[in-house]
Symmetry: C2
Subunit: 317 residues, 2 copies
Amino acid sequence: MTDVKNIIDGIFSGSKVPLAKAITIIENDLAGKKQLLKEIYKNTGKAYRVGITGPPGAGKSTLTNQIIKLLSSHNYKVGVIAVDPTSPFTGGALLGDRIRMSESALLENVFIRSMATRGSLGGLSKSTSDVCDVLDASGKDFILVETVGVGQTELDIAGTADTTIVTLVPESGDSVQTLKAGLMEIADIFVVNKSDRQGADNIASSLRNIIHLKPESEDKWDIKVLKTIASENEGIEELLKEIKRHQRHLTKSGFLDIKRKHHLRNKVKELVNESLKVNFWNEENEKYLNENMEKIGFKLKDPYTLADEISARKFSI
Amino acid sequence: MTDVKNIIDGIFSGSKVPLAKAITIIENDLAGKKQLLKEIYKNTGKAYRVGITGPPGAGKSTLTNQIIKLLSSHNYKVGVIAVDPTSPFTGGALLGDRIRMSESALLENVFIRSMATRGSLGGLSKSTSDVCDVLDASGKDFILVETVGVGQTELDIAGTADTTIVTLVPESGDSVQTLKAGLMEIADIFVVNKSDRQGADNIASSLRNIIHLKPESEDKWDIKVLKTIASENEGIEELLKEIKRHQRHLTKSGFLDIKRKHHLRNKVKELVNESLKVNFWNEENEKYLNENMEKIGFKLKDPYTLADEISARKFSI
C-alpha cells in the first residue's frame, strides 16, 4: 500500500512512470486500485475530456494523432486513451494504426495509453472512466479517448466525455440513414474524415438533415458537421476550434457541471449495482440456481418463477 | 387476466391474432406479461432458433426474406422477429427494407413481427428472447431473429439463438481484420452476401483464415463461410442445408441442450439482477444518492466511498 502512496504522489507530480503504473493497476484490477481512485478523486475535474468514436476505417487514429500534435504544439498537456477492441481470435489487429500514434507519445507533454478490450466490453467502460480520472489528476489539460464504435463502447465513451466527436467517412453515406441510433444520440460534433473522397458533401448534408430533424437539446447546442482530411492535417484547426466552442458553450451555460454530475451519478449507481450483484451471487445462491436449472430443463419450473424465488432469497441472507 | 388466459389458449392453437396480442403485451410490458410467460414456458423448446446479424447494408432483410420463403415452401411453420434499431431522430428509417418482408407475412405458415429498439437497446434482449418463447409455444418449427449488428444486440441475439448467422458483404473486406470482436465470437455460419460484387472471394478467404486461427470450440463445430446473392435467391438452399447441418451437429453432440440451458441460466440471472436493482433503488436509496451527489461535486466525498456506503445500506433495509 505504501507503493500506492508513492504512485499517487508521482501522479500528482505529473511523471509518466507512476501514471503508467497506476493505469496498469486499474486495468488489471490489482490491489490498491480502490485506494488509488479514492485518493486521486479530489484532484480531478480540471481536464477537458474529448471522446472520438466512429465505425472501423473512419481514420479515427489518424485524426486523434493530428489533434494530439496540434494540442501539444499549443503547449497543452494531453492524455490519450486508445481503446482497442481486440479480436479474441487475432489478439490485437489494430496495432498498425497505433504505430503512427506512438510517435506522438514521445512528445514531452503527451501521455498515450492503449487499452484492449479482450473480447469483453463490459468492464471497459468503468476502466476507461477510471483511467480518465488518473490522467485528469496528473494535470492534463485535455484527455482524448479514442474508440471504434463497437458494441457498447460508443455509449460508454459519451458517458465519460465532455465533448463527443463522431467520425464518419464518405463511404458511410449509404448507411447514414441506418446509422446506429447510439452514434446519432451522442454526437456533439460530426466529422466527415477523408473528405477528399467522393460523396463527402452528400454525407455531410445528410447528417445536417438528420440533425435538423432532431428535437432541440436541453442545452441548445447546435451540432455542426465538419470536414477533415486527417492524413493531410486538413481541417484539424477548425475541429479544435469547434471543440473549444463546445467547451465554452457548456461552461457558460452551466451544462458542463450538470453533464459531469450526471456522469458521476451514473458511475456511483453502476458501482453499487455491480456490488449488489457480486454480493448476491455467493456460493449459496449460485448453488440454488444450479440445482433448479434441472427443473427448468425438465419444464417442472419456469425461469420467471425461479427468478422470483431467487430474488426473494436476498431478504433471508 | 381472463384475457391473458384466452390469449394463451390462442397461442397454443397457433392463431395469429392472439400471438400478435401477446407480443404487444411483452413489448410494452403490460399487465399479464409475467403470467403469460410463465404459462407458455412448458410449451417451448420445440422451435429451432436462428439469429441473423451483421453490419448495416449487408442485405440481412433480403436474406431473411429468402430463408422465410424457402422454409415456408417446405411447409415449415416460421416465426420471424425483425429487430429494428430505430434512430431516435428519424423514428424508423428501415421501413423500406421491411416492405419486401411483409409480402412473406401474408403466407399462411409465416408470422413476422418487427420490434423497434427506440434508442434504448437494454430492454430489447430480454423482450426478444421472450417473444421467441411465445413464437416457440405457438408451434413454430423455425424462429428467425434478424437484427443489425448494433450496440449490444448482436451479442444478445447469440444469447437466444441456436444458430447464429453473421452476414457480411464484399465491402466489409477492409475492416474484416478490425471486425467487431463480438461478431467473430458468435458466428456459427458466415455468409458473404452480394457475392457477385468485387472482393467476395477475398473476404471469404480472409474470414476462413481468421476462423482457422481460432482455437477449436468445445463442441468442435467447423464454421463455414458461404456465399449468397440474396436478391437473386442464390445460395439460399445451401445456407438452409448448413443451418440444418449445425442443428444436427448440436443435437447429436448434446450441445443443443447445453447451449439452451446456458441461455436459460443467463436469463434467470438477468431477471434476478434486474429485480435486485429495482428493489434496491427505492425512494430512500435514490434520495441518499442525490443528497450525497452534492458532496461528490464539491469533492468532499469520492464516488467510490459513496458507492461503498450505499451498498452497505442494503443490509439495513
